[in-house]
């Protein structure tokens, strides 16, 4: 989840961009190809028509003339050429003539700069008309070479040696071609713009399942295992959605099973405690009877009776603690807060347990905190009782306040002893249920749930609890060399804003 987050926004955009680009490219290629091919065909048709018209009409015009051989009079020839040029089709020509060394034209210059040697070679040496398209200085010209023949005898012809050339500017064809380009572009560009819409729609239709999948995956990640994706159609994305749904179903079943098993285990513990409580209530009510009358029984019976009485009391405490724990597990524990004086509350706890004489206190007055007095009493009693059991003398309870980083006030209570401290390897487990910090510890004290319940009560207040070994502050005092310190930090207004 964390690893995916940075790349997430870019990915769908990229996919969308690629899809749209691919779609547009196809559109561009097909539109462009069609437009280009159409354009070329149209352009060639325009040019061919112009050329064919020009060539056949030039031949026709040339066939109207008559010459003497040799052709001697350049001026007369020019006159003839001008006459031909005027009748030029589709546009006026400039007509040139070559005969021997004679050069004549319908224009001002007797020779042309446009006619290529290639065309002249082809025309002079070969009894056929030829044309060549020439682009000179960006202007397209059509040049036509037309050798002349005359009839000899029946059906025979003989080359006269007179060759005529026509040069025609193809401005108008260029204009037509330009118009074709414009038409192709004007057709293709809006076509592409229109293609953008289906491209976006297509990308959307592809991306929608992807988006749904992403949303569903995130929903799964946040614990909603009943997330499913609607399966549409039968394409690969639908397959993916189906696979996702099947996997989600498997996960949901597994998680359900786990949760049910855990709930069963917890409910079992709670049920057992509940069931134990009723017989215990009866037994506990009569333990006094046993204790009082034990003196009158014979010693063995009396010992047995006292044992039963004592263990019944411990069993009652254990069951009580188990029920408390199971309520935390079921999140059924309630915080009934009241605003109290913290020092007074702690002092009352010590006083009620008759610990006032054994415990040194540093309890500044006037610290008011909003907390559940009953639960805070349990916290203090468990910690102090624990300290007294393991640390013996020198138990100190300190109270102070401090401000957390976000400005909320914290109630800080430290319970320190001068006992042997907690073994480092035991520290991480000190709040575990039924964890015995000392292997040889007698089970005569506590239920083994005291610190676990303490921790749960602190957490219910939105606070924290830490266990540590005290720093060696009194180097000379062997009793102070070690010792455990439990530190409880609870927000001063725990009740008003339940964490």
């Amino acid at each position: 989840m964390k690893g995916l987050r940075p790349g997430r926004p870019a990915t769908p955009f990229k996919l969308r961009t690629r899809l749209v680009l691919a779609f547009l490219l196809v559109a561009v290629v097909s539109a462009g190809t069609t437009a280009t091919l159409t354009f070329r065909e149209a352009r060639n048709s325009v040019l061919r028509t112009a050329q064919d018209t020009a060539v056949s009409s030039f031949r026709e015009q040339v066939q109207q003339i008559g010459v003497g051989l040799p052709v001697e009079d350049a001026d007369a020839l020019s006159e003839v050429l001008r006459d031909i040029a005027r009748k030029g089709k589709p546009h006026t020509w400039i007509v040139f003539a070559e005969y021997g060394t004679l050069r004549a034209s319908s224009g001002t210059s007797p020779t042309s700069t446009v006619i290529t040697p290639e065309l002249r070679r082809k025309t002079v040496g070969y009894p056929h008309g030829s044309f060549e398209r020439v682009v000179k200085d960006g202007v397209p010209y059509l040049t036509i070479g037309m050798p002349t023949v005359f009839k000899v005898g029946v059906g025979g012809v003989l080359s006269t040696g007179l060759v005529l050339y026509a040069v025609m500017r193809m401005d108008q064809e260029q204009t037509q071609v330009d118009a074709l380009i414009t038409a192709a572009r004007d057709g293709a560009v809006p076509g592409l713009a229109i293609a953008l819409l289906p491209a976006l729609l297509a990308a959307r239709s592809v991306l929608r399942p992807v988006r749904e999948l992403r949303r569903a995956a995130r929903s799964m990640g946040s614990g909603r295992f009943d997330t499913r994706i609607p399966v549409r159609g039968s394409d690969e994305l639908a397959d993916l959605a189906r696979t996702f749904n099947e996997s989600a179903g498997e996960i949901e079943r597994s998680v359900d099973e786990l949760q049910r098993a855990e709930a069963r285990a917890r409910r079992f513990a709670a049920d057992v405690s509940h069931e134990l409580r009723t017989p215990l209530a009866g037994m506990l009510a009569v333990t006094e009877v046993l204790d009082e009358d034990a003196g009158r029984l014979d010693p063995d019976t009396a010992q047995a009776v006292r044992l039963i009485s004592a263990e019944t009391g411990k069993l009652a405490v254990l069951v009580d603690d188990l029920l408390e724990i199971s309520r935390f597990d079921a999140r059924a524990a309630e915080l009934n807060t009241d605003e109290v004086d913290a020092a007074e509350t702690i002092a009352k706890t010590l006083q009620n347990r008759r610990w006032t004489d054994q415990v040194r206190t540093e309890l500044p007055a006037g610290i008011r905190a909003r907390l559940d007095p009953r639960r805070f009493d349990i916290v203090v009693a468990n910690l102090v009782g624990n300290a007294l059991r393991h640390g013996g003398v020198g138990v100190t309870v300190r109270l102070r306040t401090r401000d957390r980083e976000d400005g909320t006030g914290l109630l800080v209570m430290e319970v320190a002893d001068r006992g042997p401290g907690i073994r480092p390897e035991a520290l991480p487990h000190i709040f575990d249920r039924f964890y015995k910090a000392e292997a040889a510890r007698t089970r005569s004290t506590g239920s083994g749930l005291g610190l676990a319940i303490t921790q749960e009560n602190v957490r219910l207040h939105g606070g924290t609890i830490h266990a540590a070994n005290a720093p060696r502050e009194h180097a000379g005092d062997p009793a102070a060399a070690t010792g455990a310190v439990f530190t409880v930090e609870i927000p001063l207004n725990a009740g008003e804003e339940p964490a």
């Binding site: 690629r18 680009l21 691919a22 490219l25 561009v28 290629v29 462009g32 190809t33 280009t36 091919l37 354009f39 070329r40 352009r43 040019l47 056949s56 030039f58 031949r59 040339v62 066939q63 003339i65 008559g66 010459v67 003497g68 051989l69 040799p70 001697e72 021997g100 060394t101 290529t116 290639e118 002079v124 040496g125 056929h128 008309g129 030829s130 044309f131 060549e132 398209r133 682009v135 036509i144 070479g145 037309m146 050798p147 002349t148 023949v149 005359f150 000899v152 005898g153 025979g156 012809v157 003989l158 080359s159 006269t160 040696g161 007179l162 005529l164 193809m170 260029q174 071609v177 380009i181």
Partner: protein, 221 residues
Amino acid sequence: MTRPGRHTRAATPFLPGAVLLSALLLTGCDIQSTDAIDAGDPATIQVFPSREDRTLLFFRSGGALMPIARPSAYETMPDLSNPSNPSDRPTTDAATAGTKTLVALLAGPLPAERAVGLSDGLPDLPDLPDLPGEGGRDRSPRVELTKDARTLATLPFALSSLDDLAVRQVICTVAFARDAEGGEPVVLRGTDGTLGPAGCDADIDLGVRPRPALRPDADSS
């Protein structure tokens, strides 16, 4: 990391399309030059004087055969339309007309003709005889019909000194003097042997037409 790879993969299918497209667009727009392209028959024009009133001489200009149409005297023209005068019976008239034409060819272009770049390409004949059959009988240029109805043109110089175009000039001039189609084969006899028989075929390009082989003058008498 994966970025370049992804780009390559994405670009690959686009590449041929893009290349094709740009190629099409680049070749497209303007009017392009072309090679010289065949465009049908040449133009057939009128030549004056008309067929009956002219004599065709073949000079040359820039490596090409150039026909010249000179007005001809009526009496020298062979009467081809007369059926009583079969073509396989050569007449003295035809031979005389041929000789005249050949002599005119050997005399070279007139000044006006030279002015437009025509030349004869033949050896000069400083002592050209005025009339055939006169003077050095054997060396005088003449056209005659042989017994086997061939047209024979006798030239007063060595044939091997002539280039190909010159040989064709002579053949064509003699052939068109013989008849209007210029289709009859002609045998040339020079001082060094005989050539032919060969047709005029004036339209055929020089390069592809084989020059007739020169033979020693075996049967000259």
